[in-house]
Amino acid sequence: MTSTTKTLDVSVWRSNDTGGAYQAFAVPAQESQTILDVVAWIQQNEDPTLAYRFACRVGMCGSCAMMVNGKPRWTCRTHVQKVISGNKIEIAPLRNLPVIKDLATDMDPFFDKWIKAEGVFHPSKTRNDAIEQIDPTSHERTEADIGIECINCSICYAACDAVSSNSDYLGPAALNRAWTLFNDAKDGGKQTILDAVSANGGCHSCHSMGSCAEACPNELNPMASIAGLKRETAKAFFTRRKA
């Protein structure tokens, strides 16, 4: 690196026993550089003890999400030039999740809530039954098809103010997953899903602020999925009473 090389002013969150603080690094600027490139450069050239998480580097695995200049982003697909603010980049661990070390968060609460939302497949047939025929043009399948593009990156969870103010809230991703299964003709647990998302901290804790839809890197709309769950739980509220 020569002295004329342009550098980026990067602040990276470093955790310690008392919480943590930002540490400043000067990172050489490069063309088509991503935030993950910046983090990797620091770890490889400045401080090998920097902890962060990544896997695929192409926006498929959902591992590398971090807070970049205050917003949750998938760092492998986030170009420095799109998010840099006055040559400064601030990189922090994802909001709303416990930090393991530096930029690596503990994803357990996020995935535990998928289970709590019944975001798991509920088989309805045995291996001896014929495979369910799926109409790809049906309304239910169309709804499910949109939601299943989720890569579990937890960016929506980090962006959600309802999660921040209510730690029991299941969050956008888990409820989006529940909505895809509710609309899956092969899933046999529709009422189980509705019961799960109707419990305290379920879909009714969403205030429809839309941060999830704005932040989702795959341009999904968990808020719309949650609205669907609200509609279905409201319908079930009346129909179950009659029964």
Partner: protein, 110 residues
Amino acid sequence: MTDLRLYMAQRISAFVMAPLVLGHIAVMIYAIQGGLSAGEILGRTQGSFGWALFYGTFVVAVSVHAAIGLRTIAFEVVGLKGSALNVFAWAVFLVLFAMGAQAVYAVTAL
């Protein structure tokens, strides 16, 4: 009470309030444009079962709706939890209901 029941109570109370609010605004505009005095208004409302029902329903819906809304704010912003949260919500409901019922009684009772 579960989130679903609170959610439904708040939506149903909003559904009830919407036409009553429009009716209330229409009555206010009518009363002002026609230049009705307080005495003339009371002459129409006192002893009227219809007006007692109209504003009585409104008071119940407002009390339910506002108590649930403030309960959510108290939980998410102030951090109230458990029985303290429910006591707070019931207190809001009772205060609003008492004040509203007193007002309805004052203008509709003979």
